[in-house]
């Protein structure tokens, strides 16, 4: 997220090294700065009009009671109070947090496992095929992933067919429609989408580790577990940070998969903040509450992502 931040040389150093600027020089510099702004301006305007302005409006709406049409009534922090006390809304935020386990922890853990065993995917044709296939879920729309998995997990789907084939027909069920299994089932879809990406990122990072480190660990008599903890994990710190950042955002801000596969049901079992914002704002016309939830979601994402950035971006040991 901030790879270029610390290392970028600032323009100031370059300028300071110059001899004392003459008047003409200074004039030219000022003109150049003016032209420079012309380059930045279009991007900045689009960003300001279609991101910063709506963002400010979301914060403003969140302080009002508004049905989207009539007159808005000042509500102060009431909407936030509702977000933090309403048991349904708390459950919905909780669902997103539970999804982190499936969207983030499972792909990263499995990815690490594969990476530490494979160390590098062969460069030849096999490697290309592996990479291409593992990236497929990243390329297709999440909506398609949702449809494919809804079918696979349905009563007549592949999973139940397989269970019946091995004599476990008793556990077969509509996985996405069952109160107990719906949220984990949605989580599995997310894990499927993100697993390939994490694996490739981690294996790519793995291939950059100096093999001498492993030789040394082996000579010191380290077993596979020690080797993993002492060499692999610290060396992959940055890649793990990237995987966690991408997947946690995907979990907390999930919308497409849930909308398609369960629409949040059964009950509120799989409703996530993204879906609830959509529903509150556009079906129930509670724009204020929807906006407060949106602000909370935004802060939640930052609260999860910033510490990870801080922990994993530092110098490699």
């Amino acid at each position: 997220m901030t790879s270029a931040l610390g290392s970028a040389p600032t323009g100031r150093d370059v300028r300071r090294a110059r001899p004392t600027p003459t008047r003409a020089h200074r004039l030219r510099w000022a003109r150049a700065a003016g032209t420079g702004w012309l380059y930045v301006l279009p991007a900045l305007v689009m960003y300001a009009v279609f991101v910063l302005r709506p963002l400010a409006l979301t914060i403003q709406y969140s302080l009002y009671d508004w049905n989207g049409i009539g007159v808005a009534r000042w509500a102060g922090l009431d909407n936030y109070l509702t977000v933090f006390t309403d048991s349904d809304l708390l459950k919905i935020i909780g669902n997103a947090v539970i999804l982190i386990v499936f969207f983030s922890f499972i792909p990263v853990a499995l990815g690490l496992l594969v990476a530490s065993m494979v160390r590098r995917i062969t460069t030849g044709a096999f490697g290309t095929v592996v990479r291409t296939i593992l990236f497929l879920p990243q390329v297709i729309p999440l909506v398609a992933a949702g449809i494919a998995w809804s079918w696979l997990l349905s009563s007549n789907g592949l999973l139940n067919q397989a269970l019946r084939a091995v004599g476990l027909g008793g556990v077969a069920r509509a996985w996405l429609g069952d109160f107990d299994t719906a949220l984990p089932a949605v989580g599995v879809i997310g894990a499927w989408v993100l697993l390939g990406l994490c694996t490739i990122l981690l294996v790519t990072g793995m291939s950059k580790i100096d093999p001498a480190l492993y030789e040394a660990a082996r000579l010191d008599g380290a077993g596979p577990v020690r080797e993993f903890l002492a060499v692999t994990l610290p060396s992959l710190r940055q890649e793990i940070g990237v995987c966690l950042t991408v997947t946690i955002i995907a979990a907390l801000a999930s919308f497409d998969i849930v909308y398609i596969s369960t629409s949040g049901g059964p009950g509120l079992q799989t409703t996530v903040p993204g879906l609830e914002i959509y529903r509150l704002a556009f079906s129930q016309r509670q724009v204020g509450l929807a906006s407060a939830l949106a602000v909370v979601l935004m802060v939640l994402v930052l609260a999860c992502v910033l510490p990870i950035q801080r922990l994993t971006r530092g110098e490699k040991p």
Binding site: M117, I133, V143, A144, Q161
Partner: protein, 274 residues
């Protein structure tokens, strides 16, 4: 690399298992799509008489021609403009180092982790005020803005690594800033621009939330948004739904397979930087 043979083997086995799991949903969808219309398919079963005609039915039912056109129009509206203005801004921030650039950059960083859900409600009212609801502009304009944090960040990272001496040399030769940008810097930035183009194409094509909120008419949406509508309409006809979904996937899949190498490079770099 001192891996024991057994470890290597287990690694391979895991990798192959992973590949099978990745492919399974597609295969199961294909198996359902080839069943006779009107039957209720079960799990994974190769039909005795595969009904390839289902794809033709789905093509008509999904109005694929119109969908493709709509998605292409949206991509054409979003990607070139985004890439151009992001490249210019990256050049301004990374090479020209305009005064106050750090502030602008900080503002942009703010948007880097922003979930689209956080701005979609005000965007709806904004588009309503502009009279653009239910037009493709309602998707195009916000997407350009929403891509700016990542895109400018990406291009700036490239331009900060180009030595300033290059620009100075061009200046001594008497070229204007625009000539410097267009003739010297842009050609050098081609790999970064190519990766950015690929990522933005993919994200636009697959954009769902903005499409379903801001545009009601499925034939004016992105592919992903249209697929959502298709599911709403044909959700009970599993055979047709699977055939239609596969059909809607195909264009991206083809583009991905052709530019496979660049795609993977872009996705890896994209997630590392983004």
């Amino acid at each position: 690399m001192n891996l024991s043979r057994r470890e290597q083997m287990t690694g391979r086995v895991f990798l192959i298992a992973l590949i099978l799991v990745t492919l399974l949903p597609f295969v199961s969808m294909l198996s359902a799509a080839l069943q006779p219309r009107g039957t209720v398919p079960t799990g994974l079963a190769w039909p005795s008489d595969p009904q390839w005609g289902n794809f033709a039915d789905a093509f008509t039912a999904a109005n694929m021609g119109a969908l493709l056109r709509s998605s292409l129009l949206i991509v054409a509206g979003v990607v070139p403009v985004s890439v151009l203005i992001a490249t210019m801004a990256g050049f301004g921030l990374g090479q020209l180092r305009v005064p106050g650039g750090r502030l602008v950059f900080g503002l942009l960083l703010l948007g880097l982790t922003l979930p689209f859900e956080a701005v979609v409600t005000p965007l709806y009212y904004q588009m309503q005020d502009l009279g653009l609801l239910n037009t493709r502009w309602a998707i195009i304009l916000p997407l350009i803005g929403l891509y700016m944090p990542f895109a400018v960040f990406w291009m700036r990272a490239h331009f900060t690594n180009v030595p300033v001496e290059l620009s100075e040399a061009a200046r001594v030769d008497g070229s204007s800033t625009w000539q410097l940008f267009w003739r010297v810097q842009v050609p050098l930035a081609r790999p970064a621009i190519a990766s950015l183009t690929i990522l933005l194409f993919l994200w636009t094509w697959n954009q769902f939330l903005l499409a379903i909120v801001l545009v009601d008419d499925a034939t004016k949406r992105t592919m992903a948004g249209a697929l959502g509508a298709f599911q709403g309409q044909w959700g009970t006809d599993l055979v047709l739904l699977c055939a239609g979904s596969l059909l809607i996937l195909t264009p991206t899949l083809i583009v991905f397979l052709i530019f496979q190498r660049q795609f993977i490079k872009a996705l890896i770099q994209g997630s590392v930087k983004g």
